[in-house]
């Protein structure tokens, strides 16, 4: 059962990832990203990490991708893009090579390490104490062992928000650039009166 769920989700995650890379339309790419993130959420559920799964959906699918889509629609960059020409020459070749290298490294670890490697099996990722729910455990750890990193992160996020507001609301230039001659009212005649040239 677990393996079946894993295979289905892995396929969805991979298909979504491919869709992100190969979609011509940015909105389709964002939709593929949603599929990927959902697949990962179900994978978390499969490992018994319910809180992670639901946080994945709330934070990534429900907020971050919504913002990505929102910005795309507001700025109107939702047009089809030309995928045939590379913006950076040699980028795709390099990406492919590095991808292959990573795949090779992972395969090598699995082949060399045999049983002793971390495979994401339950022995590694299961709860510290099976009787207490993992929400309680994460909460306790966050507010006892990791309380300092938590506070630092909170501070960092606050600084980021304040910074964004300050950057986007710059004081207006106090001496505005004068308007071009042709558009200013010289006081001689009303602007609405357009000099007639020739007959209509």
């Amino acid at each position: 059962m677990e393996t079946a769920v894993f295979i289905v989700c892995a396929l969805i995650v991979l298909a979504g990832g491919l869709g992100v890379v190969s979609s011509r339309n940015p909105v389709h790419a964002a939709l593929s990203l949603i599929a990927t993130l959902f697949g990962i959420a179900v994978l978390f559920l499969n490992l018994g990490a319910e809180l992670l799964a639901v946080v994945q959906v709330i934070v990534y699918t429900g907020a971050i991708v919504v913002l990505i889509l929102f910005v795309m629609m507001l700025l109107g960059v939702d047009r089809e893009e030309d995928l045939d020409t590379e913006p950076l020459v040699g980028q795709r070749l390099l990406a492919g090579l590095i991808g292959l290298l990573f795949l090779g490294a992972i395969l090598a670890i699995i082949i060399v390490g045999k049983e002793s490697i971390v495979t994401g099996s339950h022995s590694v990722t299961s709860a510290i104490s099976p009787t207490v729910s993992n929400i309680t455990q994460i909460g306790t750890e966050l507010f006892t062992t990791y309380v300092f990193p938590l506070e630092i992160t909170a501070g960092l996020l606050t600084i980021a928000v304040v910074g964004a507001v300050v950057l986007s609301r710059r004081p207006r230039d106090l001496e505005p650039i004068p308007e071009p001659e042709s558009m200013t009212d010289m006081g001689d005649e009303p602007l609405t009166a357009i000099p007639e040239e020739g007959a209509h």
Partner: protein, 402 residues
């Protein structure tokens, strides 16, 4: 993994699977019928408010009007605009309906919670709760579903390839993202009061004879009235219901994100909207009014659970319709001001005050002094917020900033 439901804690055999399927079908049917009746109820009550008759032809009191409309929608021509993004256009209504259905799965809708009973019922020799699922993450699942409900609206507007739907959907996403924070913070207050995320646990914590034997233990009182009020307002904005229905302000945006939709695809949006109203009422009842908990007068206890649940839910649905037919639509800047400058600071401050209160209780501090200090800190924060809003307004009027 499956949470607290005793049905799934033991050995899972064929009977258990059949019971789960039965519950799925029952909840599905209940939600569809409730939505159908809600549409009729809303039309009828709004007509009464406006001195009209309303639907009165199909069935007694026009109760079958929704069914007739549904059948008509099935047989209408299904148009897809030429400039629409075909695949996304077809996908969008489905993305609206599915979260609306899933949201109801965690709502407890019956069971005997009186005299220390835990609301479980016996079906074919198996013990189970009268709710489809009781995951440990409980109410977080509801937040997750309401946060992905925005996709349907957003993509519908974008994929129509038309201006008004796009404006409507951009408004909708801004509004829904803004109000989600207030919604989540007021849910936090409930979770803090009851100490559990599971919806069944939240109902259990509110059951019992209550203070003085007759004032129920509802979170409405236990968490203070503020989270309830914030949740009620934020839920209306989240549902895009009047007075927060700027998303489909007809005078400005024609029909907003579903302008280009016709036939059954439009019907799906319509159904999802009312289904969300029903579910939101059910969730308010679960969070703040004890869900199906209530006294058993005579007959089977689980049935009284269902009756109390339906009564409380109907009261809220009436409130929704009442608000819709009497309160005028707010302006867009008022909407954003209410969300960001009133509801979020209010619910955040209240959450901190509640947390202080609970810590003081655990540590045996002097409760009165602790809450007084908390209130002073809260008021200082409120003053600072006021001052900063006033400063920014003054600077905007001076023309120093945009």
């Amino acid at each position: 993994m499956f949470g607290g439901d005793p049905l799934l804690s033991g050995h899972v055999d064929l009977a258990v699977v059949l019971i789960v399927i039965l519950k799925v079908v029952a909840v599905f049917a209940f939600l569809l019928v409730a939505t159908m009746l809600m549409i009729w109820f809303e039309r009828k009550v709004v007509s009464d408010f406006q001195n009209r008759v309303g639907p009165n032809t199909a069935g007694p009191f026009g109760i079958l009007q929704t069914l007739a409309d549904g059948i008509k929608f099935f047989f209408k021509e299904d148009l897809i605009p030429d400039r629409a993004e075909r695949r996304v256009f077809i996908l969008a209504p489905l993305l609206t309906v599915v979260p609306a259905f899933l949201l109801f799965t965690i709502v407890p809708f019956g069971g005997d919670f009186s005299n220390g009973h835990d609301g479980s019922v016996e079906i074919f020799g198996h013990t189970t709760y009268l709710q489809l699922a009781d995951p440990a993450i409980g109410i977080l699942f509801a937040l997750a579903m309401s946060s992905i409900a925005v996709y349907g609206v957003m993509l519908a507007g974008w994929s129509s390839g038309s201006k008004y739907p796009l404006i409507g959907s951009v408004r909708a996403s801004a509004q829904m993202v803004s109000y989600e924070a207030a919604l989540g913070l007021s849910v936090c207050a409930v979770v803090l009061t009851t100490g559990t995320l599971s919806t069944h646990g939240i109902v259990m914590a509110q059951a019992g004879s209550g203070w003085g034997g007759f004032i129920p233990h509802w979170n409405l009182i236990a968490a203070g009235f503020v989270p309830f009020v914030v949740f009620l307002l934020a839920s209306q904005a989240e549902l895009n219901r009047p007075p927060f229905d700027l998303v489909e302000a007809e005078q400005e945006l024609v029909g907003s994100y579903h302008t280009e939709y016709s036939s059954i695809r439009f019907a799906l949006f319509f159904v999802a909207e009312f289904m969300n109203s029903v579910t939101m009422a059910a969730i308010i009842v679960t969070l703040f009014l004890g869900g199906p908990a209530g006294p058993v007068l005579l007959g089977p206890g689980w049935l009284w659970g269902v009756i109390w649940f339906l009564l409380k839910m109907t009261a809220f649905l009436f409130l929704f319709v009442w608000v819709r037919s009497t309160v005028p639509r707010v302006r867009y800047d008022q909407l954003m001001d209410l969300g960001w400058k009133v509801l979020i600071p209010l619910s955040l401050g209240w959450l901190l005050l509640l947390a202080t209160f609970w810590v003081a209780r655990d540590q045996h501090w002097n409760g009165f002094i602790t809450v007084a200090i908390g209130a002073v800190v809260g008021l200082t924060g409120y003053g600072l917020l006021k001052a900063s809003i006033a400063t920014s307004k003054a600077r905007r009027l001076e023309g120093v900033v945009d």
